[in-house]
């Protein structure tokens, strides 16, 4: 009876929200004339009305729960695969890749630095839920709830194993991307993760030609280098990786004891399986402790060097900001004011803002970029230093286990394990 009442109540709420948006659309009749004017395409999808944004949150929650269940409890690669198909259809093609957890950290960042910008609860949840799940169950978001991951995962054909040095080097790019994305978001300059999202144009079927080429290039690359965007670009993956390293539970290759059959060694297209370590070989390979101490001592130098590079590059980076670029442009080329086709310049001139105000704003922005670039540079230096240290650290391992930070919980390795529960 209670359940029945709940269904009736939910149906009623659904009808009310639908009716509200319908009546809003109809409150004003559309003018009945056509000028032949071609409306520009809307760049971002319309925001969800009423309770529908929470429907997306609910769907995400369900998908994350199912992904965790398939990966950890059911141990079903098949389940994760179909879940990622659903994610691709729903969050990708139906919701047009927006709202997206991958870019949500930019909204959160901006809300910290701009008092006039606030994020909705749904955005906050889209940012937090995958991280919380990663903290408990590993990167199950990457496995089944990320449309960007899903579209790449379904097109893996012949994954190649990359050399370790290349994996490590390319693995630094997401940290750089994360630092820049936070810098650009904090200064209100741009949401670069959204702007350079290679797949969102495919989801919306309306991207500029070169962005479509970018998306297709990533997909073609993904046929041989599995999920290249996730592994070597995704800045949100960095946060998920951090959380996943401390995850309470995590996907395991074997449901019981590893028999070291090595069947799983080639199963992971992401090179995320850590092999057992032969202690003797490690000891023979060289003075690890000495290296560790040297690298550890170099960390402050890496940070200072990173901050220095950041400081040096802040002028260039700040030009990404519209105000800074416009101010520089108008000072260096005052004649551009007479160019009627320059939309940005004409928009500025018609805004009524004075040149002095623009220059003042640009100077403030440069100051912010200087501080932000130094912090970002220092962070990247720290990451490089820690990555180097990591190469000297010996971790005792007797079994084949997924790397908690890099494993995307896709479950492929589980299918290779012959051990029964």
């Amino acid at each position: 009876m209670k359940r029945k009442l709940l269904y009736i109540f939910l149906t009623f709420i659904f009808c009310i929200t639908a009716l509200t948006s319908y009546s809003q659309q109809q409150r004003f009749p559309k003018p009945e004339f056509s000028s032949g004017y071609e409306q520009p395409d809307v760049v971002t999808p319309e925001p969800r009305s009423g309770g529908f944004e929470y429907l997306d949150v609910a769907v995400l929650l369900v998908v994350l729960s199912l992904a965790a269940w398939f990966a950890l409890r059911k141990r079903s690669r098949q389940g994760i695969l179909w879940l990622s198909v659903f994610t691709l259809v729903y969050f990708g093609f139906y919701r047009n890749g927006c709202i997206c957890s991958v870019g949500s950290f930019q909204n959160i960042t901006l809300s910290f630095f701009d008092a006039g910008y606030s994020v909705s609860i749904s955005t906050l949840l889209f940012f937090l839920l995958p991280l919380i799940f990663a903290l408990f169950f590993g990167r199950v978001f990457c496995a089944g709830a990320c449309p960007l991951g899903a579209i790449q995962d379904l097109l893996i054909v012949k994954p190649l194993s990359l050399p370790k040095w290349l994996n490590k080097t390319l693995g630094l790019i997401p940290y750089i991307y994360l630092a820049l994305a936070v810098l650009f978001a904090a200064t209100g300059t741009d949401f670069i993760v959204c702007r350079y999202d290679p797949f969102v144009g495919i989801f919306r079927m309306d991207a500029k030609f070169h962005m479509i080429v970018l998306g297709i290039s990533f997909l073609l690359m993904g046929m041989f280098v599995a999920r290249p965007y996730c592994r070597f670009l995704c800045p949100y993956g960095v946060l998920l990786s951090w959380m996943s390293r401390f995850s309470k539970w995590h996907l395991t290759i074997t449901p019981s004891l590893c028999i070291k059959c090595k069947l799983c060694t080639t199963s992971c297209p992401f090179d995320a399986i850590d092999f057992p370590v032969n202690e003797k070989e490690i000891v023979q390979s060289g003075p690890g402790t000495k290296k560790f101490i040297v690298y550890a001592m170099l960390i402050p130098l890496w940070i200072v060097a990173g901050a220095f590079v950041g400081e040096r590059s802040h002028l260039y980076l700040s030009r990404a900001n519209q105000n800074v670029y416009l101010a520089e442009l108008l000072i260096s080329d005052p004649e551009i004011k007479n160019d009627p086709d320059n939309i940005d310049v004409q928009t500025f001139l018609e805004s009524g803002k004075t040149m002095e105000t623009l220059v003042e704003e640009a100077e403030v922005m440069r100051g912010q970029f200087k501080t932000g670039s130094m912090i970002a540079g220092g962070f990247i230096g720290l990451v490089i230093g820690l990555t180097l240290i990591n190469t000297t650290v010996f971790r005792k391992r007797q079994d084949y286990v997924p790397h908690r930070g890099n494993c995307l919980s896709c479950g492929r390795c589980m299918d290779y394990c012959p051990v029964e529960k």
Binding site: F28, S35, Y37, M221
Partner: protein, 320 residues
């Protein structure tokens, strides 16, 4: 080398990816942008077929207002309001009188030796016989009076702020209020997106009201019942376009309509039936992004347009 072909393919893709990202980053700058492909241009619609122009501008009067506000003609005398003055001018442009006002009016109407003028939500009556001014009970705070119509027994005001028409007795007693809503499916009611909402009573005593959001002129009984209407929503010369047009209208002596539009600033005439007749003043007669002129007509069907941008009264004579 193992997988040599694939490696070369991957390197090529990596190069393409880097080139696209760098190009995208560098191209989106104020001096690198392309001309706006979606610029909304109405230039094409400003062109008028010369054969449609039925009027010729003969003269204009400089009226000396900093802020001209409204024009009315009664008994072939021009009443021009602006600043906080009403100037009385004959049809040749000679100033014959001037009335100082307590407020800066937004609109005015002259009938039976009385000048009705309004500012915001306040309505005033100036009695020309004893030169006295009285103020009626002000409307609500959100009210904004944009036009006044009068006959012997009724005064109507168009309240754009509340999207309604208010009917008064000549003594200023409120009789009724109506909002133009008709029976289901007939008409929407008054849609007033901006402060343009005109109202007139023609020589036959019929009350006509502009419903600017619907691009229509609507005929109501004095009780507020819709009697008839005509509409022309079109970007073409014969229609009205934009959010809210016509901005002003008046009647010629034989009951034909004269309309004044904003956006695409132009003045046109329509037959009594609402059928498009011709153009009085084409858009090229007015400045770029100018205001819709207020209009009035004399007994010989000459049209007087108060050009708010040039601050003159422009006279258009019919070309026979």
């Amino acid at each position: 080398m193992k997988n040599k072909g694939i490696t070369i393919f991957l390197i090529a893709l990596a190069v393409i990816i880097v080139i696209i990202i760098v190009n995208e980053y560098l191209s989106d700058k104020p001096d690198k942008g392309k001309p706006n492909p979606y610029q909304y241009s109405v230039e094409e619609f400003k062109k008028i077929d010369p054969s449609l122009i039925r009027y010729k501008e003969s003269v204009n009067f400089r009226i000396g207002f900093d802020n001209p506000a409204a024009i009315a003609i009664y008994n072939d005398t021009i009443y021009a309001a602006g600043d906080d003055i009403i100037k009385i001018i004959d049809l040749k442009g000679t100033l014959s009188g001037q009335i100082n006002l307590p407020v800066s009016p937004h609109t005015l109407k002259v009938f039976n030796d009385k000048i009705f003028f309004a500012a915001g939500n306040r309505l005033f009556v100036y009695n020309m016989s004893d030169e006295s001014t009285s103020e009626w009970e002000p409307l609500e705070e959100l009210s904004f009076i944009t036009a006044i119509a009068a006959n012997a027994n009724d005064i109507f005001i168009a309240d754009a702020g509340n999207r309604r028409v208010v009917r008064y007795s000549p003594e200023g007693h409120l009789i009724s209020v109506f909002d133009g809503k008709a029976e289901e499916g007939a008409l929407h009611g008054f849609i007033i997106p901006s402060a343009y909402f005109d109202i007139e009573i023609n020589d036959e005593g019929k009350l006509w009201i502009v419903n600017p959001g619907m691009h229509s002129l609507e005929n109501y009984t004095f009780e507020g019942q819709l009697r008839s209407h005509w509409k022309h929503a079109s970007m073409k010369t014969e229609g009205f376009s934009g959010c809210c047009n016509p901005a002003f209208f008046t009647f010629l002596s034989d009951g034909r309509f004269v309309t004044s539009e904003k956006g695409l600033v132009r003045i046109k005439t329509y037959k009594v039936s609402g059928e498009f007749e011709g153009v009085v003043a084409a858009p090229d007669k007015f400045i770029e992004d100018g205001h819709a002129p207020d209009i009035a007509a004399d007994s010989k069907n000459n049209i007087y347009a108060m050009d708010f941008d040039k601050k003159v009264i422009r006279v258009f004579n019919p070309v026979d």
